[in-house]
Symmetry: C2
Amino acid sequence: MQPEPKLSHTAALILQAIHLGHVYGFSVMEVTGLPSGTVYPAMRRLERDALITSKWEQQSIADAEQRPPRKYYKLTRSGRSLLESVYKRYPLLEKLLPSPAVEKA
Amino acid sequence: MQPEPKLSHTAALILQAIHLGHVYGFSVMEVTGLPSGTVYPAMRRLERDALITSKWEQQSIADAEQRPPRKYYKLTRSGRSLLESVYKRYPLLEKLLPSPAVEKA
DNA sequence: TTTACCTATGTAGTATGCTGATTGACTAGT
DNA sequence: ACTAGTCAATCAGCATACTACATAGGTAAA
């Protein structure tokens, strides 16, 4: 059995936040309390390691909502399976973190 | 209003664990899932910053329980007040972390 | 129109955290 | 005798996280 790849507590917290629907940086910052200088570089590493993928929001949507465009993330298959194994190491993670209020169209 | 001194998420997690009664390194490691190389240096910094104080267990007690002596920590007054302010930044912390089963003499 | 605040993302430089190993005493199996 | 396992703490060297700041368009007030 290959040893599970390791994930820091902070990285795991961010991965879990995305999993629960906080699918862009600013939302992850708000729910975790982590600063931007932690969240954005961490998300780039998660993407580098193929645990998440990203896609820029269409400019037209951002324009319509009068705000900067967001970069949306979602878990890959290996991201989901790693998160499962991470619950065993950091059992605290699983309970924590509220899901976001889903925006209605 | 002087800006609240800052504490990393990990340091806050460790401080909270001690507050809840995980009063030596090994116990903090177990409840948080954090490795020894994170926990012990972090506790030294917390002590350096006067948020916690430490005291070595009497050798005779460790001998009686047939294990290495523990270094026990507790929060100082400023440690407790900082922890309060930290809950505002990391609201997730407050709910999380079980208290240890208290050992009976 | 400049001051301020909000959303959203990003960076440089440094402090902190993590991996992997080590120490030391004691316990138990082979 | 050796090997392996547990509890407790520590370290060197490298990876990650944090602070403070920056950018950029938007709103809103003075």
